[in-house]
């Protein structure tokens, strides 16, 4: 879009729309982007991020990340910190796919070890990890156990043999949001989700084999410290969320909030998808407890998928996953609201931070980080399109201005329908094979929708994140194999 005169650059890579831009804004809106990314953003992003700035209790400003694009209520990439006493919680600020997130697993294997077995490996992963629509999960749990899993997240999985104790330390929040309360979840949500633990899903969700190349290591010292610093090394990335369970939690509470927000709390919003309730109210607290269950379901989903991933590698390479060095590097969440204590205008303050299609990126020294990451800052996993590449970044001290939040992916620029008209799944698979990427997809039409050309350039997004001081690149990964729903 043509740059509106209302937008001005407040610092390198940070743009501001003032609070008098439209009526009802309580704070300014800020967008982290390069000029080129900003110019490429849809009109809807500006509309939505300024709508976010109207929400009661918002602190400082509404932020949008460099990969921001049009969403429901909040834009994807929208971030809002709320005062927990005066402010609201909004399901539209979290998204339908609660705790959609990324997990990165390292290996000691090199491209030379993997190449001769790549097809077998990818095909076997496709067989063993349910992907696509209508698939039943690796775990099918009776209600009681499913509810336990909702309250304990990845911890439940490790206790039941799906993973290693140290996996939990390397998962955001230790793989469990303690505020979860399964009694706040509807019967329907349980019925939708209890057979989906250990499913990838569809859309932009995937499992990818990637390789480290010498020329893509930006910070060799940190990359080595994190176990991903060897040229030729193969790593694995998993992108998926809380599946139908989380979607139902979001739909249930969106419906409830629409009914009660005006009547009980005197709240009015300019977009139905921004329906909200005071965080401190019964409805706000109930949603937060149910949302935390969905966060935990997603942690568990990725944990169980990783467990299966390790089993498949052990089977194909005839060595245990431990001997293959298959440690979890980190697991990050995208669509969440969390209570955090941050220094704002020089004072420690409790905030309820909504991150929608955005990643927490704590700086070096943050007490929430496990010892191994406390010096370097939090690992941030950025998934690119399946044709181009992905990144591992680190949180930085200067990220305070976005409440320590950075981008989450490359961000879609072309509609699914247009992508399907422009790309053919079978041709795409062939051209990717020519570039050394082997894909096994549940559906060729779904594959076409995820073509690299439908996304923003991941390098531009990461450069914008660096420039605006919200995270810094450590290493870039190149895809070699992909399992897609």
């Amino acid at each position: 879009m043509a740059l509106s005169p209302d937008i001005s650059q407040v610092r390198d890579g940070v743009w501001e729309i003032p609070a008098d831009y439209k009526s009802g804004m309580r704070v300014p809106a800020r967008i982290c982007a390069t000029r080129a990314l900003l110019d490429g953003m849809e009109e809807g992003v500006f509309e939505q991020i300024t709508n976010v700035a109207t929400l009661p209790g918002i602190v400082k400003y509404a932020c949008c990340m460099p990969d921001g694009h049009w969403g429901y209520g909040f834009p994807i990439g929208g971030v809002a910190a709320m005062d927990p006493d005066q402010g609201v919680i909004s399901p539209g600020g979290i998204g339908f796919d609660i705790n959609c997130g990324m997990r990165l697993v390292r290996t000691d294997l090199t491209i030379d070890d993997v190449k001769p077995r790549l097809h077998r490996l990818v095909d076997r992963l496709f067989e063993r990890i349910p992907a696509g629509v209508g698939r039943t999960g690796i775990l099918q749990l009776p209600d009681k156990q499913f509810c336990e899993l909702l309250e304990k997240g990845a911890r439940w999985c490790v206790e039941h043999g799906y993973g290693w104790p140290e996996d939990l330390k390397r998962t955001e929040d230790g793989g469990c949001m303690k505020e979860a309360d399964a009694s706040k979840v509807s019967r329907k949500a349980i019925e939708r989700g209890r057979n989906q633990v250990g499913t990838l899903g569809s859309g932009n969700h995937y499992l990818e084999l990637q390789v480290v190349r010498r020329e893509n290591i930006v910070d060799p010292a940190v990359a080595s410290e994190w176990g991903v610093g060897t040229p030729g090394q193969v790593v694995l990335m998993v992108h998926c969320g809380s599946r139908g369970f989380g979607h139902q939690v979001a739909s249930d509470y969106l419906g409830t909030f629409l009914k009660v927000m005006g009547k009980e709390y005197g709240l009015d919003v300019c977009d139905k998808q921004l329906a909200c309730a005071p965080f401190a109210s019964k409805h706000g607290q109930d949603y937060f407890a149910a949302m935390a269950c969905a966060v935990n379901m997603a942690f568990a989903n990725r944990q169980v998928i990783m467990h299966r991933l390790r089993e498949v590698f052990a089977e194909v390479f005839g060595k245990s996953a431990r001997d293959l060095g298959m440690d979890l590097v980190y697991d990050v969440t995208h669509n969440t609201a969390k209570l955090e204590t941050q220094k704002i205008d020089g004072h420690e303050r409790r905030i309820l931070i909504h991150r929608k299609g955005a990643t927490r990126a704590f700086p070096p020294g943050a007490s929430e980080l496990p010892g191994m990451y406390r010096e370097s800052g939090q690992p941030v996993i950025i998934g690119g399109s399946m044709e181009t590449g992905s990144y591992l970044l680190a949180g930085v001290e200067t990220g305070a201005h976005t409440f320590y939040t950075t981008a989450h992916g490359s961000g879609r620029v072309m509609s699914r329908r247009k992508a399907k008209q422009q790309f053919r799944g079978t041709e795409l698979r062939r051209s990717m094979a020519e570039h050394g990427i082997y894909v096994h997809a549940a559906s060729m039409s779904a594959l076409a929708e995820e073509a690299g050309g439908a996304y923003k350039n991941i390098d531009d997004v990461v450069e914008a994140a660096r420039k605006s001081g919200i995270s810094r690149p450590i290493v870039r990964f190149v895809p070699i194999g992909n399992v897609k729903g």
Binding site: W70, Y72, R192, R416, R417, A446
Partner: protein, 143 residues
């Protein structure tokens, strides 16, 4: 085909407009559009079983919304793909009610070309209105 997919509403998702001369026909069309967002060929869905659904809400708009959400739920909870066989929409003291008999079958990945896993029926740009051709709904699905 009394529905069309729309390009410029939802970059990352699926939007459609459905219409019918009656409220029943509108719901039938919207259900087919939702199904077509999930599976590429509607004809690949056989009539192996029957389901009855009743949805009641304050307005027709909410009836259409909640009816579609019910189908999204059944897709995940019971792996069902469904089309309307018979529907009746009536005004009640509380608002509007739709009772419908649906036919369809469980997902079979060997026969169904499944393209998108619909997550939710959103309220973004959601609209049900009366037009010169009857009733019309605009719906954005999160996929």
């Amino acid at each position: 085909m009394p529905y069309e997919f729309l390009d410029n509403i939802a970059t990352a998702d699926v939007a459609f407009r459905a219409w019918g001369t009656t409220r029943e026909a509108l719901i039938e069309a919207a259900v087919d559009a939702l199904l077509n967002a999930t599976v590429t060929e509607l004809d690949s869905v056989q009539s192996a079983l029957i389901r009855e659904i009743t949805v009641e809400a304050d307005t027709l708009e909410m009836v259409v919304h909640n009816f579609l959400e019910e189908l999204v739920y059944l897709k995940d909870a019971e792996h069902l793909l469904l089309r309307v066989r018979e529907a009746s929409v009536q005004d009640t003291d509380e608002g509007v009610q739709c009772r419908a008999v649906l036919r369809g079958e469980r997902i079979d990945v060997t026969r169904h070309d499944l393209v998108a896993d619909v997550k939710a029926v959103t309220f973004h740009g959601f609209e049900v209105c009366q037009t010169s051709r009857g009733w019309e709904a605009t719906v954005v699905l999160d996929v």
